[in-house]
């Protein structure tokens, strides 16, 4: 032991281990703080970059914290929900948050994510979400999801997804005693809302300004956008409901035709949650009006199927909403009944 202690390399390794062990003690506290700030505070929530990096940590957080400080509203969808081309405060979920300050809104939109993915994500976190807005756009789940969130074997089979690698995660779990390693993804997601490298890339100008001691631009809170009432009149809203419950044969037909949505709605029912499935013109696969009316007759008030026909003047391109379009859509959703208020 004496000769080992006289070896400077052994001493350096020992010092490094002691430093890591000391730093490790702070990790759980730091993680709790950054996650609370990101997921429970009043700051807007959307993924810093519209990719899958932070999805796993968010899902883990929801599974560990099924009850938040306020009722939780989740917006599921792709770049339309995330708000491509828009500042965080201009997106539909952010404008919705402005209109409904008593709930905590989560913008869970990720580029190219179809409703198949939203179904699997919702399935893994549904006890933690009180009200869902699902922008319907397709049934195929992202092939990466099983690597990131818990996906049941039956869903792997149903969606023909590759099962996740079990070996490396099991080894990683065995390293759980080293908190800094074990929690590194969650720490990055909590601190930056994305991976460290993307954060550095996205904020390089701000970081440079900070280094030079110059003021850094900050995203203001979402503000009311002038002209929303007029814009709303341009949007066609269809929540029609058939007067009677469809016959069994029709039920069979609808459950086959919309098998994913059907499963989604059943899932929402099992968890006693509420949702609005939003069809956006030019974005969703068009659903015949009669189908929507029958589905509403079946599932209202737990689930509402809502069609929004948004004119091109309220869009940036054929797909994405403009700031005014987003504000108008958010206002329509906030006024829709039942809304998150009923979940409360």
């Amino acid at each position: 032991v004496s000769s080992l202690l006289h070896n400077r390399y052994v001493r350096r390794i020992a010092v490094a281990i002691v430093v890591l062990a000391v730093v490790d003690q702070w990790v759980p506290g730091l993680l709790a703080r950054v996650e609370r700030d990101r997921y429970e505070s009043t700051q807007l929530f959307r993924f810093e970059n519209s990719d899958l990096f932070s999805l796993g940590p968010v899902v883990q957080y929801f599974r560990e914290h099924p009850k938040g400080t306020r009722p939780r509203v989740g917006f599921f969808g792709d770049s339309v929900v995330w708000g491509y081309f828009l500042k965080a405060q201009e997106t539909v979920p952010a404008q919705f948050q402005r209109l409904e300050p008593s709930v905590r809104v989560f913008n869970l939109g990720i580029n190219n994510l179809e409703t198949g993915s939203a179904y699997l994500i919702a399935k893994s976190i549904l006890p933690a979400i009180d009200f869902l807005y699902v922008f319907y756009n397709g049934d195929t789940p992202n092939a990466m999801l099983p690597q990131l969130i818990p996906v049941e074997a039956s869903d792997l089979e149903r969606f023909r997804l590759e099962p996740p690698d079990r070996f490396e995660p099991a080894l990683e779990r065995s390293m759980g005693f080293w908190q800094l390693y074990d929690k590194s993804y969650r720490l990055q997601a909590g601190l930056f809302g994305t991976s460290t490298r993307l954060y550095l890339y996205l904020h390089k100008a701000d970081l440079a300004r900070q280094l030079l001691g110059r003021p850094v631009s900050e995203n203001p809170a979402p503000a009311e956008i002038p002209g929303v009432d007029a814009a709303m009149t341009l949007i066609g809203v269809d929540v029609s409901r058939a007067p009677t419950r469809p016959a069994d044969e029709r039920l069979q037909q609808l459950s086959t035709k919309y098998s994913l949505l059907w499963s989604f709605v059943e899932l929402i029912g099992v968890h006693h949650k509420q949702a609005i499935i939003v069809e956006l013109s030019g974005h969703s696969r068009p659903m015949p009006d009669q189908d929507r009316a029958d589905l509403n007759a079946l599932f209202f008030p737990n689930v509402t199927f809502l069609k929004l026909t948004v004119p091109v003047s309220l869009k940036i391109d054929t797909l994405h909403l403009s700031p005014l379009g987003s504000a108008a859509v958010a206002t329509i959703l906030a006024r829709q009944s039942p809304g998150p208020g009923s979940a409360r």
């Binding site: 390794i13 490396e168 080894l171 390293m175 490298r197 993307l198 550095l200 890339y201």
Partner: protein
Amino acid sequence: MIFTEVRFVLLVAGCWISFFSAPARFRSTVLAAWGIAFYVIYAGAFAPLVVELVIAAYLISRGRADLVLVGLIAILFVDFKLGVDVTRFATLPASTSPVGAVLMPLGFSFLAFELIHFAVDHQRGRIGAVRFMDLAAFALYFPCRIAGPIKRYPAFIEAVDVARPSTQNVYRGFVRVLIGILKKVLLADVLALTAAEALYADTTVHVWKVMLAYSLQIYLDFSAYCDMAIGFSRMLGITVPENFNWPYLSPNIQEFWNRWHMTLSGWARDYVFTPTGRALFKTRMKSWPTAIAAVAYVLTFLVIGAWHGLSANFLIWGLYHALLLIAYHVYRTRVPASIARSRWFSSHAANLAGTAATFVLVTVGWVPFMTDVPRSLRLLRLMFGGH
């Protein structure tokens, strides 16, 4: 990144313990066994093929090329009967790393060049009697299987023989691995995001910014992988060759190739450039040494380009560097002695100008390396003021 996976670290730990626990004569066997374990874990489908290649190289070194031929036919027959696609390499997913093209499947390009070196040097009599396990340890040595460096058999076997466990090696190896990880994660991966803007960059300034980022990224990315391979080897007490020596500080293109991917350029020099030059000096071309150098450069750099990937853009990149080297060769041999001896030629300013010019030329050369020919042309047009 394989190097930071727990299973890879466990592989290194297991290898370290067994390497130093085993009697010296079994060290090669230990390294070969861990090399096979590495292939089984990371590329199970290719493990038999890799072992077959090592056996084939060994049989060739024993003068049994006939057995190799029979073996290859048998393999093809079995593959055919099993319905295995023997060209399956092409179906592997491409890596997002710029060095990805040469890594798949798990450093096959590196393995191939090491086995060619072994076969040629053995035939030239530079490698004496070979034990199968030594060759297997050399070929399957897993820290260098991911991104090189390209080893030489005699130096590797000697390094294995003299390897001793030491805390200094473990410490210095660990620090080198750490440097590699930080270089990759904090620098190369961040620069990669700027380089990815090439998809939509549409102004001259933007394209130059993208190419500058790519130039730095490819160096940092590749050298980071090499740092990790060298670091893990150092932990085992095995010295493997360095691959980069501040290449972007080279004052000319020839110096650049003496400092960039040194084990590849050394391999190409020994097995393509020099033999080509020698062969041409025995022909009627011997009166034109510059022409011989030009042909040798073109051939060598086409091989280097093809090694990175058998597609037009890599061949164009190779050809571009061959032309730069030929131009430099002509410049060096033709510049009058009176000018070459002038104070300006040895001044810091000239050195700085040469370094800057070399960097810019190399950066322009990365354009066809980065993307396919049509996109390269678009980027080059934009770089030089076109639309």
